[in-house]
């Protein structure tokens, strides 16, 4: 059911839904929907291709290649350099390198880490679940809390609770995630040690049961997720609140109130569903920020995620690993944006048109 159809529930007021389309219009609308989906997929496909090309080209545009950077300062003969260049395929023409690079990508081969001498895909694969866990959970929690709180305080805007919550969120919004993480860590892992200080699980532990393992992972998850959630919550809360306030002033909400619809239905079915569109847009973009934020959080909590691995890769100038990590992360943001666009198109008929 579309938003416009929701408005139809108001019974022919302002923004009343159009009359039921004729039978012949249904396949037409379906075709139009398919075209919209295909357009979104195509656009993101082109973007992905451009992204892959950029990631391939950037390190090759600077005069120093990965061999120069990693080996040039360490005492290595020209013959050894040439051997390394052959190994990395850097002795081949750029176009041929690009073809080989694409071929490897298709096979899922992201190359070999120059500092840790292991396949990049394996390394990222081992770390990705932890990053997905921490950032996914934080994003879900932050979204849920900010959505619920934003709707609630907008509904009762101007009250003491609204002022208190809005002020608190605005304050939390300017505190960087690593500062929040540090405070949480000192309070709940050092002064009152109810959560572990670091890591994703207790090292070298043989768990007695799956539940014990889940409990251990969850206890390690608590502080980093809390730090990231707090950092993510503020912007979304304020957005949801403002968006909701704007919707509440619409005529159809006045009409709904006049009809005596239950408050819960008005709040969540009519108002928040319309107010959530900008919220969703921001959510798509925010996935990139979540990864950026998790770099600091993973670092403080020694959480073994992709972001911490990329931090090490930067420190060690491990370009294959950096390239693979960037591809993974930027690809994830691209896919997330695509999903948001598809959802947006589903929710908002204007986007479909």
């Amino acid at each position: 059911m579309s938003v416009t159809e929701d408005h139809g529930l108001l019974g022919g007021g302002v923004d009343a839904p159009p009359a039921d389309p004729p039978a012949t219009a249904v396949p037409h609308r379906r075709r139009r929907g398919t075209r919209v989906v295909a357009g979104i997929l195509l656009r993101h496909g082109v973007l992905l291709f451009a992204l892959v090309t950029l990631i391939f080209l950037l390190p090759r545009l600077v005069p120093l290649d990965t061999v120069d950077i990693n080996a040039g300062g360490g005492g290595i003969t020209p013959e050894e350099k040439a051997q390394l260049r052959r190994h990395y395929g850097l002795d081949k023409p750029l176009v041929e390198q690009y073809g080989l690079y694409l071929g490897r990508l298709v096979r899922g081969d992201l190359g070999q880490s120059s500092s840790m001498h292991r396949p990049v895909r394996t390394m990222l694969g081992q770390r990705l679940p932890w990053t997905l866990l921490i950032s996914g959970l934080a994003l879900v929690l932050a979204s849920a809390v900010s959505y619920m709180a934003g709707v609630a305080v907008a509904w009762r805007r101007g009250t003491r609770r609204d002022r208190l919550l809005t002020g608190t969120m605005a304050t939390l919004g300017v505190i960087p995630e690593y500062a929040t993480g540090f405070v949480l860590l000192v309070v709940f892992a050092v002064l009152v040690p109810i959560f572990p200080l670091s890591g994703a699980r207790t090292p070298f532990t043989d768990y007695s049961s799956v539940f014990a393992e889940i409990a251990d992972v969850a206890s390690h998850l608590a502080l980093p997720v809390a730090a990231l959630t707090i950092a993510l919550m503020s912007g979304k809360f304020l957005l949801m609140r403002n968006s909701m306030i704007a919707v509440l002033g619409q005529d159809y909400m006045v009409a709904a109130r006049a009809k005596g619809l239950p408050e819960r239905r008005m709040k969540y079915r009519h108002a928040s569903r319309n107010a959530v569109l900008p919220f969703l847009t921001v959510l798509g973009f925010e996935i990139g920020f979540v990864v950026g934020g998790s770099l600091f959080v993973e670092s403080i909590f020694a959480y073994p995620g992709v972001a911490a691995l990329l931090g090490d890769a930067f420190a060690l100038r491990d370009y294959p690993l950096i390239e693979g990590g960037f591809l993974l992360l930027s690809g994830s943001v691209l896919v997330a944006n695509m999903v948001v666009e598809l959802v947006y198109a589903r929710l908002d008929p204007r986007a479909r048109s």
Partner: protein, 637 residues
Amino acid sequence: MSLQHAVRMTATLVLLAALVAACQTSRIDPTASGDPVAELRFQASGGWGISPFSANGSPNPVGTSMMTFMFDTLTWRDANGPIPWLNVPSDEGDEGDGAAEGSRRTAAGGRVSADGLQYRYQLRPGVRWHDGQPLTAQDVVFTFEYMKARKAGGFSIGFPPPGGPQSRFIDYLASVRVDPDDASGQTVLFTLHDATAHPCASGDESCLLGPWVPFEDLVLGAVPVIPRHVWGPEATTNCHEKGGPGNTCVSDPVNNPPDRQYLGSGPYVLDTSTFDPSTLVAQFNANTDYFRGLPHVRKISFVPVGEGQNLNALKTGLIDGSSVGGGSGITADTLGSFEGFVPVRGGLADDRSILFNLTRGFPFDRKEFRQAIAYGIDRLALVKAFVGGRGAPGSSGGLSPSSPELAPDLPSYDLDLARANGLLDSIGVVDSDGDGLRNLPGEGCGFLPSCPEGKGGTKLWSDSSSQRLTEVVVESLRKDLRLDIAAFSPDPPLFTFGDYSMGLFAGQNLPGEPDQLRTRFSDRITSQSFPGKCDTPFGCHKNPPVMVFGYANPEFMDLADQQAVDANPVSRLEKLHRMQHLIAEDVPAVSLYAAERLFIHRPATVPFYFTPGGVGADPQGGTTLNKHVFVTGQRTG
């Protein structure tokens, strides 16, 4: 009781239970001295890996230490210096003919021939690899032949650049073989290059006048012995990649299974089931078959600790020892707040220095200019600002202020702006264009698009880790000496190619082997890897890559070459002192400060100590993780 009250009570009880549990989780009971220690924990730190094929030369001292737990070197170091390790002290064994020919005993218990060319070491009996195979002289020979083959151009993919000291210094080794005069077949004979085999950077003439003296300490004490039966030509099992250097199977060692990669003879065995190669979270169990007996510390674990959380990890009992960062402002005196912990001082080591490229001509090739820079910087203020007072201005002689070979009575170059400005005036470094700044030669930024603001004067290059310090130094030089200079900290740090007039670098004045004065300063230094060719688009570079360029004081260079082959400690020290005085006068580098390394440890475990000059392949010695103390539970012996 209301629901709210019940929730509060429950929360309080949970909190108390957690506190009690936390108090009970301490793993280390205060044990009487001499009692074995069940487990010690330290911070894991990711890096280049922990196999001998990846950890050597790694910037990660923790990974290098882990490698030394699994792999032994021929000799080792304790709190006093070199000691025998795999070898029998010469007065106990070594019945070869060396003694009869006037050979002398080395610091680590080997024997060196009178001409200094041959080093002889008899292996201890009963040394075994972790798989139970005996460690033989053939293993030692194989290891060093492999190192030489790799160095000679058999560079093997999967290795880091051979930048570690042992790979640089392997050049000094001519050959290694099992001593044919020893009937047991357990004596190894190392033959060093004589004088004719040390080419200079400047030509074909020889620089060194004989065999290189620090060979035992820097090569034999650093190269991990690897098992021939795993990596050698006879290891046909799993040897699917023939063609490694020296006819070995070591063409891609770091991608071999852990049970091969980490099979050593050392006092600890890696628990491969819990090892995470990317974070280096690892657990090492004592080698029950170790030739020195069951190690004093039964288990050593490396656990994840967040960045900057070392002290919190210590307080909560997560780890038993840690380094204390120089920027923390914590000194050995203020560690009193860490009741129950013992500080270990590591000497003044973490140095920041300005190096000059004298090949850039005027004014960098004028000592008055370099002296003016030395006089123009308030180094005491830098010590206070950047290491919280935990350190001292660096020595003007080029060695660490903590170095045992530090020369007495070196000039201190205290802040003297009048003198600095006078020196600049005297050589004509003046403001000739009326912009209020003394003119310096312009310097571009290579191909980098972002150049520091200013009029294109000289730049003080540094890596990004020293960016703030570089900015402060430049600010003071512009303000106090009115020099047209700008800070520049590109990333990647392109200065590794020598493309700088002035560079601010870390890790210059190290407390280790004093031959570093030659390798860092002398214009003659070369190696087989770096014949001094200008084969990069950015100019010449040598080995080590970050160094003073163009310092060609003939007296210094002669002394540098002489001390490197002087086996007499007294006369060698005299030469080293004179070299430091020459450096102090010529100022090819200005050491800004040297921070004091500080470690804290839980007491009543083992008598932790800092090893002067580092251990194994860690020339910077940035650790107290010396396996000697974990094996013996003592500082020496």
